[in-house]
């Protein structure tokens, strides 16, 4: 610890702390532009200059580490004059026209800095040279006129997302933000995660969906979580007049720390399905609006006599996007109440069956996402992180520059292959063979940390190479890389069957990383659905009625085909679809932003969503709809979801209270 005196206040901070962070700890606010708490110090804009006793010139506090007994003054006249001059130069560098900028009036850090310094005008005029505006991107616009070259976007793209699309070309006044080697933004390697727009201090990078829809102070922000996949990234849902404006990543969220992917940030804003706001009942062959009482009566009339009729009663299928409270009630109503033999989710266990089966044998075998921070080798198994669980992919990609070895093993095409140090593409169905081959290679190399090294490995390696279609040399190369790592982490996805997963777990144990597995699970509540046993295959067979708790999910083509000709179909859904058009009774329910409930993420973390929007009057929560149906047929949907989740051994420790 070192002592530092800032504006007369002496505090102790750990060695290596920058003056800026030390000042924050002392409760002082130093204005910044290029600095961002989640990015490495850069020292580009110089707005944060301070006076340091004994130093000849003003010093940038963001990149100056404190030294013992340093005396710092953050707000002297000299400092203020320098800051005003710096802002004057920044304003004159390009063309900042506040009246027609979307962040002007509160959301612009540049403007705010000027106003806080009492600047009423610019000493020098703008550049007047028109800079290009790149509007080639589907979701984002770069206006170079407003760029102050702080490089926050460049650093976020590299440090947080690991994508390295954005960069700076040329030097000095010719410096320009570029995408890749100078291609239009829309044709670049950008993955549209939008993190650049979230860190941009000015209006230089704005997102097209929410631009000019209101300053942040005119919107309401609701802290919630994204339901796009099983990661459960923290989001702020910005709304105005009960309308969705923007979604931003929550910097304080434990899973994603501010970063989101396209799926979480932009796609929900493109929702164009038609909303269902009133119950519908089929009368004379046509779906017609009805009251909740009428719809419940119509449903119970047909459903009630089917209770207890195993195989010819009610089959039920729910979306794994529903909150766990709804899933538990769903299970209680249909499994407990109706005694149905077919109660499952739309995924039918696709992304969880293997993990649940292994967990039943061995207990928890997975770790949490923090393991990735320390990983020096990441093995990606049967999941394309460029498409699924993308933020998990960002975590992997951003670790690559610090020399983390990436190994991709997938029988299918994989977007991470070009980034991998070793990419193995086993024949279809031979992932487990390839993994056993890797284990054999490691034992052959004498690098096994558990179990036996040995000569018998040679024959095993040879046969694995033959069966998987991967060269033995490749297996040895990749195996050596995994075995030499001190903290390897294995990420697997739904393409792995139980045999594959067992082989992966054995490989992990062999290299002394027994529980360093992370399993991607598809949907927001797939793990919860698996824990509740809602993971069986769905077959309509002789069931006389089917109940679909669809929520705001999209029904698959396959499900629609299976349900064609169902004698009696009840759907609770937020949006109209081909499935609701087939139904006999439709109950209108909430979509994700209207829902408050709990979700169990990839690492067993229990997180809550908060309702950011108010649904229309006739719309009920998924849970309330299930409870109303239960009451109408004289059954119960009451369930203790925490207890229900714990009934089955989970692949990862669940953080239940």
């Amino acid at each position: 610890m070192v002592n530092v005196t800032i504006d007369g206040k002496t505090i102790q901070v750990p060695e290596g702390t920058t003056v800026l962070r030390a000042a924050e700890q002392a409760g002082l606010k130093i204005p910044v532009l290029c600095d961002h708490p989640h990015l490495l110090p850069f020292g580009g804009c110089r707005l944060c200059v301070v006076e340091v006793e004994g130093m000849r010139t003003l010093q940038p506090s963001c990149s100056l580490p404190v030294s013992n007994n340093m005396v710092v003054r953050t707000n002297t006249e000299k400092v203020q004059a320098a800051r005003k001059f710096i802002l004057t130069l920044i304003f004159s560098d390009r063309n900042h026209f506040c009246p027609y900028c979307q962040v002007s009036g509160g959301d612009c850090e540049l403007q705010n800095a000027a106003l806080n310094l009492g600047m009423t005008h610019w000493e020098y005029q703008p550049n007047w040279k028109p800079y290009p505006v790149d509007a080639s991107h589907e979701y984002l616009v770069i206006d170079h006129n407003r760029c102050i070259l702080c490089r926050r976007c460049v650093r976020a793209c590299g440090e947080l997302v690991g994508n390295f699309t954005l960069g700076i070309e040329e030097r000095g006044a010719s410096s320009m933000l570029v995408c890749d080697v100078g291609v239009p933004f829309g044709e670049s390697s950008c993955v549209a995660c939008g993190t650049c727009s979230q860190v941009c201090p000015t209006g230089a990078i704005i997102d097209r969906r929410s631009a000019y829809q209101g300053l942040e102070k005119k919107t309401e922000s609701t802290a919630s979580i994204c339901l796009g996949c099983s990661l459960g990234c923290g989001v702020n849902v910005l709304t105005r007049d009960n309308r969705l404006v923007r979604i931003t990543g929550r910097w304080d969220a434990p899973v994603n720390a501010g970063v989101l992917c396209k799926l979480g940030r932009f796609l929900p804003l493109d929702e164009d399905r038609q909303r269902i706001t009133t119950p519908l009942v089929r009368k004379d062959g046509k779906l017609q609006p009805a009251t909740w009482d009428e719809a419940l009566q119509a449903a119970s009339l047909k459903l009630k006599p089917l209770a207890g009729k195993n195989g010819s009663g009610v089959a039920a299928i729910a979306s794994p996007r529903l909150p766990v409270e709804s899933l538990a009630a769903f299970k209680q109503l249909f499994k407990g109440g109706f005694r149905s033999d077919t109660v499952t989710t739309l995924e039918e266990g696709a992304s969880t069956l293997a993990a649940s089966a292994l967990a039943a044998e061995t207990g928890p075998f997975e770790t949490d996402l923090s393991a990735l921070e320390a990983a020096d080798c990441v093995v990606v198994l049967g999941i394309d992180l460029a498409v699924e669980e993308q933020v998990l992919g960002f975590m992997v990609k951003r670790s690559l520059p610090s020399n983390t070895a990436l190994v991709v093993i997938d029988a299918a095409e994989n977007g991470f292959t070009p980034l991998a140090r070793a990419a193995l593409k086993p024949a279809a169905g031979a992932v487990n063979v390839a993994l056993r081959g890797l284990s054999a290679a490691i034992r052959k190399l004498g690098l096994a940390k558990a179990g036996t090294n040995g000569k018998d490995a040679e024959a095993e390696l040879k046969s694995a190479a033959e069966q998987s279609g991967i060269l033995a040399d490749q297996l040895v190369y990749a195996g050596g890389m995994i075995a030499k790592a001190t903290r390897p982490v294995f990420i697997y996805g739904k393409n792995l069957n139980l045999a594959d997963l067992k082989a992966a777990a054995d490989l992990a144990a062999l290299v002394g990383a027994g529980k360093n597995l992370i399993g991607a699970r598809g949907a927001a509540n797939s793990l919860a659905a698996a824990q509740l046993g809602l993971d069986q295959p769905f077959k309509r067979n002789g069931h006389q009625a089917v109940y679909v708790a669809l929520g705001d999910d999209v029904p698959s083509q396959r499900l629609i085909q299976q349900l064609e000709g169902t004698p009696f179909l009840v759907v609770q859904a937020a949006y109209s679809s081909r499935l609701t058009a087939m139904a006999d009774v439709v109950f209108p329910v909430e979509m994700w932003a209207e829902t408050s409930g709990h979700y169990i993420n990839i690492e067993g973390r229990v997180q809550g969503t908060a309702a950011a929007l108010k649904p229309a009057a006739g719309v009920r929560s998924n849970l309330a709809a299930l409870q109303a149906v239960a009451a109408s047929v004289g059954l119960s949907a009451e369930a203790d979801w925490q207890a229900a989740l714990a009934e089955r051994k989970a692949p990862v420790a669940l953080a239940l209270s």
């Binding site: 009036g105 009423t120 610019w122 007047w128």
Partner: protein
């Protein structure tokens, strides 16, 4: 002490800043009591007294030779010059046209817009003022007080006027200072 004389004029703006001035509502009576309001675009007298005024207020940027004349005349005849609003302070919305040539701007305005057609004529009477780049006032004449905002808040305008009326130089900060 004689009441300070105030005069105002507008140039390349939208008159919105003067509307915002009127938006100080009944407080304008206080200003009228404390000051001698002379030539303004909304009073009968059209030019500031040749004998001079204490405070000159200009709205709008400078986009042609006529504006230049107005700015020079006001500067010559006032002791303190106030730049009122974003156009006066920065160039404002009209300055967007600086990204194009004057010919392009004229063609767009008189020929290409949805309400004109190819028969539209760009005015070319030699008596018309000659267009220039749009400039903030302080690029043409020195400005003493900058009152930004699009338009400036009535409270900010009242604060500046009342300070000047009482012989003090206003210092805008906090809630009163904003640009758009």
């Amino acid at each position: 002490m004689a009441k300070p004389k105030i005069s105002s004029d507008w140039m390349c703006g939208c008159a919105g800043c003067h509307m915002s001035l009127l938006d100080i509502d009944e407080r304008i009576l206080t200003i009228a009591e404390l000051t001698d309001i002379r030539a303004t675009p909304i009073t009968d007298l059209k030019e500031p007294d040749e004998s001079g005024v204490d405070v000159g207020i200009l709205e709008g940027g400078i986009n042609n030779t006529a504006n230049e004349e107005v700015a020079h005349r006001m500067r010559k005849r006032c002791k303190l010059l106030v730049a009122l609003g974003d156009c006066a302070v920065f160039g404002g919305v009209p300055a967007m046209r600086n990204f194009f040539t004057i010919e392009e701007a004229l063609r767009r305005a008189y020929v290409e817009t949805e309400s004109t057609d190819s028969e539209g004529k760009i005015p070319s009477d030699p008596e018309l003022a000659r267009m220039t780049r749009v400039r903030a006032i302080h690029e043409v004449v020195p400005v003493d007080i900058f009152l930004p905002g699009c338009p400036p808040d009535p409270d900010a305008i009242f604060y500046v006027l009342s300070e000047l009326a009482q012989g003090r130089k206003p210092e805008l900060k906090g809630d009163l200072l904003h640009w758009r």
